[in-house]
């Protein structure tokens, strides 16, 4: 189906063909769903909200609930104040959330709706019930990507809810901003923190919301999610650790300023050294020892890498997706002897490009790019493995490249919902996925006499 793609690369300035990113509001919606009892509210046309809910549902295979201001032509001319005020009133009276997280869309951004004032007026008019909260994040769809939207929503949690420290001493507790990762990854990050025996608050936490267990009921607000009370106490804690610079940096900067709290910004804990960095950061801050079992877990990962090293060595890999994921994945590939050949992000950023070039010198690196370019480049420089979200299957099929699904969205496989890719165990899963895919491909195509039973 991509037969129209040619090897001849034309420099394009004006357009995107087959994007590797989507827009801010969906990231904000995902982040908001990770707060307990939170109703994400899309301030724009109802299509935005429907698209985001459908897209998240396709990835997580879970019901996704959010409300919309249902803009009309009138609202687009006169502003969305009355829509948002009515919406706030309706949401609290019918859906009874603890908190409403409003995010904007391109429409309300261009109109220039002043959301904080609208929220203030609604509160003054008694439309926000006692003890309930409305917060907002600006998420213009024409800036950045879905990762920016996630980051802005996380920052809004801090901006609206975190209070400067009241106590003399900070609490022995660490805020962990997990970045735009799957619920299974958030669960695994929590497990690592639990095994280290530290106290922490994860912001946001979509586990038990978007991977909730089956119980025969429909819960509009599943049991999971960061409690609002916890968010209000964020400022009391000793440290904030942010994972994934693009997704977590704005929240860290704001908490550092607002609550004078130390912060540490790390890469997503994908692969050996990135997980080491995360474990070390928690260990040092909390003054704990890494338990023997975790040391063994790491040892089992290294053992697996050494067992498989001959099959991974110098294999050329094409990667595409979101910058935070790509940074850690590129580092991991280099760690295990593979060769990142091309790394493509849809999200803009020269700084990120530079970082990837440092990790993988010689790789073709592009931010603000798309799948069409990736495909054309691969036609000129064949690779052994393709890594990225579900859209990659189009290129994988066209070029017959072994393909590992990684990132967001994954619309056609089930594993990401249950199994993490972060931490030492996650790295083992990635090795399994990569080698399985490479071996399956060879087994299917090789002549009978070359079929290997033992690998």
């Amino acid at each position: 189906m991509l037969e129209g793609t040619t090897a001849e690369i034309r420099e394009r300035k004006a357009l995107r063909v087959n994007p590797v990113k989507t827009c801010q509001p969906i990231g904000a919606m995902y982040a908001a769903l990770g707060v307990n009892g939170c109703m994400p509210h899309s301030h724009g046309s109802q299509g935005c909200c429907a698209y985001h809910r459908s897209h998240l549902t396709r990835h997580y295979k879970e019901p996704v609930v959010a409300t919309t201001s249902s803009f009309t032509e009138g609202a687009s001319v006169f502003g969305g104040m009355s829509n948002l005020t009515t919406a706030i009133e309706n949401i609290f009276s019918i859906y009874e959330p603890e908190i409403v997280a409003v995010h904007t869309t391109c429409l309300s951004e261009v109109i220039g709706d002043d959301i904080p004032t609208i929220i203030k007026k609604a509160a003054e008019a008694g439309k926000i019930p006692e003890g309930k909260t409305v917060i907002h994040a600006n998420t213009p769809s024409f800036v950045g990507s879905h990762i920016t939207g996630f980051a802005n929503q996380c920052e809004a949690f801090v901006k609206y809810l975190a209070e400067p420290r009241q106590g003399e001493e900070p609490r022995k507790m660490i805020n962990i901003f997990p970045g735009f990762v799957d619920p299974a990854d958030m669960r695994e990050i929590r497990r690592l923190a639990d095994d280290l025996g530290i106290e922490y608050l994860m912001v946001p936490d979509a586990s038990d919301v978007l991977d909730s267990a089956y119980d025969g009921k429909y819960q509009m607000y599943p049991d999971g999610g960061t409690p609002v009370a916890g968010l209000k106490m964020m400022g009391e804690n000793q440290l904030s650790v942010g994972l994934g610079p693009l997704a977590s940096e704005p929240a860290l900067k704001t908490i550092a300023k607002k609550c004078e709290q130390p912060t540490e910004l790390l890469e997503l804990p994908i692969g050996v050294s990135a997980t080491d960095a995360f474990v070390n950061s928690l260990r040092l801050a909390a003054g704990v020892k890494v338990p023997t079992e975790m040391v063994r877990e790491r040892g089992r990962l290294i053992d697996m890498i050494s067992d498989m090293s001959q099959y991974l060595h110098k294999k050329k890999v094409a990667l595409f997706g979101d910058p935070d994921h790509l940074t850690s994945m590129t580092r991991f590939l280099v760690e295990i002897g593979m060769e990142p050949a091309i790394v493509i992000a849809g999200h803009p950023g020269k700084k990120w490009e530079k970082k990837i070039r440092e990790i993988a010198p010689g790789a073709e690196v592009r931010a603000s790019s798309d799948m069409h370019y990736l495909h054309q480049w691969i036609k000129n420089h064949p690779v052994d493995l393709l890594i990225g979200n579900s859209y990659g299957k189009l290129v994988a099929k066209a070029e017959d490249i072994p393909f590992v699904r990684f990132g967001f969205p994954i619309l056609d496989r089930v594993g990401h919902r249950a199994f993490s890719i972060v931490g030492y165990r996650g790295a083992m899963r990635l090795i399994e996925k990569m080698t399985d895919t490479l071996f399956d491909h060879t087994d299917r195509l090789c002549p009978d006499e070359d079929l290997e039973l033992i690998q």
């Binding site: 109802q46 698209y51 549902t57 919406a87 019918i94």
Partner: protein, 465 residues
């Protein structure tokens, strides 16, 4: 959460109606601000209708999201060109929002048309384009002139309304091509199929029925569509319109300006498919045609009815809920479910009209709840209240049904097997049976006498529990 804990939004009371109980019913209104509506926007409506025109270029003029979310999400199959399965976007950024996106659009169009040489190009306007006031029409005209390829603006900013508004804009855009091709060689006995999206190849099955009857299908406008077919579709003698939401506007334009009558049909279920073929045959007043139609129906039913019957035993008496986009599909589903021995206890649509609901009310049994523009809470409430066994809907409804422990059948664009026509009825019965009779539902707590984790523990001698 029990069904009594869930209320119907006060503002929506008149959009919920129970046969035999309620009086007033309202539909066709805007969603209440703050509601969790299952509806989408005008842009979405336009995009999904024109998407299956496979040899045209479809470019979304707006920020990236609008293009990303509908990239290759519909299973509308093409027998040739796959150009429509790419996602083209002007990816508007802050600069264009301030200074306008016209230049970027023009450049994008020129680059794409030079590269792909499509038969025509559709340019979809999004919310932001409607707001910053790009003169999309003028750009399209200029590019058409330079390239010699028809470039058609689709006036579809999201805020203009629901998908229904977008359908209208799509029909207007498509209509610009109508009448620009030669109708030479089109047979007297000829039809256009409107509103058939060729999901999982359904249009091919339906086309084959007409060919067997001796009727030429000039164009299937919304499924495996081709620009050149659209150009000459005014040469057909009759328009058969499926999907009540998307295509009536184009059919009306063809009726008004080209004198082509339209008939609403459905190709879902034995009864409706047969009726559609008979309606077409009747229209041409050719007894031979009718004979061939009757023969075809006899043959097909003889072949497939016994297969459908096999599923009836397991499904008899089961209760179904349906929530679909347009109402016409709902009618056929009620009948098809009835033929499987199942009862529809909840029926709703996103965008049905007053006329549609009137008809829906007529064909439903007493006690059936009918909803317009519903939301997850309401749907969950009625599913529990009516103790539903099967839910038929789209992507947003699937996980809700599963969470409630209810079987699900996708009757939207994500379905993978053809459900239309006679063979499709067998597939439908099979799909329904696969889900309804799945052993997984025995784990549903409310269908289970005990709420224990797993089976009741059996006591072992000598071990106290």
């Amino acid at each position: 959460m029990t069904s009594h804990d869930i209320q119907v939004l006060q503002d929506r009371e008149k959009q919920v109606w129970t046969k035999g109980l309620s009086k007033d019913f309202t539909c066709d209104r805007r969603s209440t601000a703050g509601a969790v509506t299952q509806r989408a926007c005008a842009f979405c409506g336009s995009r999904v209708v024109l998407y299956p025109i496979a040899d045209a270029l479809h470019i979304v003029h707006g920020p990236i999201g609008c293009a990303a979310y509908n990239w290759d999400i519909r299973g509308a199959q093409s027998s040739g060109s796959q150009l429509h399965r790419n996602s083209f976007s002007t990816d508007l950024a802050e600069k264009e929002v301030v200074f306008g996106g016209e230049k970027k659009l023009e450049k994008s169009l020129l680059e794409l048309i030079t590269f792909y040489r499509p038969k025509a190009a559709f340019v979809y306007s999004t919310c932001i384009v409607g707001l910053i006031g790009d003169d999309v029409e003028a750009i399209c005209r200029t590019v058409s002139k330079t390239t010699g390829i028809d470039v058609l603006p689709v006036d579809s900013p999201g805020f203009k309304g629901t998908k229904k508004t977008g359908y209208q804009a799509a029909c207007e855009a498509a209509y610009r091509l109508v009448g620009t091709g030669s109708t030479e060689g089109i047979k007297k006995h000829s039809v256009n199929l409107l509103g058939e999206f060729n999901i999982a190849g359904e249009a091919w099955m339906i086309r084959e029925y007409f060919e067997r009857m001796g009727i030429e299908v000039v164009s299937t406008i919304t499924g495996d569509g081709r620009v050149d077919d659209l150009r000459r579709c005014h040469g057909a003698s009759l328009n058969l319109v499926q999907c009540s939401g998307s295509m009536p506007h184009l059919a009306r334009l063809l009726e008004k300006n080209h004198g082509i009558p339209m008939k609403r049909v459905s190709f879902f279920g034995f009864e409706d498919t047969a009726q559609a073929l008979y309606d077409a045959a009747e229209f041409f007043e050719d007894p031979e045609l009718m004979e061939r139609a009757q023969k075809l129906v006899r043959e097909e039913i003889a072949k497939y009815a016994p297969q459908v019957k096999k599923f009836r035993r397991g499904l008899k008496g089961k209760k179904a809920a349906l929530y679909v986009g347009g109402a016409f599909k709902a009618f056929s589903l009620v009948l098809a479910l009835r033929s499987l021995g199942m009862k529809t206890v909840l029926a709703g649509t996103q965008t049905g009209s007053a006329e549609d609901y009137e008809q829906l009310r007529e064909i439903c049994d007493d006690g059936t709840v009918i909803v317009d523009d519903s939301n997850p809470l309401e749907l969950a409430k009625f599913v529990l209240e009516k103790d539903v066994d099967l839910f038929i809907g789209g992507v947003k409804e699937r996980p809700i049904a599963y969470k409630l422990g209810v079987a699900f059948c996708d009757h939207n664009h994500e379905r993978k097997i053809p459900l239309a026509g006679f063979a499709g009825m067998v597939n439908f019965a099979e799909e329904v049976a696969q889900s309804v009779l799945s052993p997984v539902w025995k784990f549903v707590p409310r269908r289970n006498s005990s709420d224990q984790l797993g089976p009741e523990p059996t006591s072992v001698k000598g071990v106290s529990s």
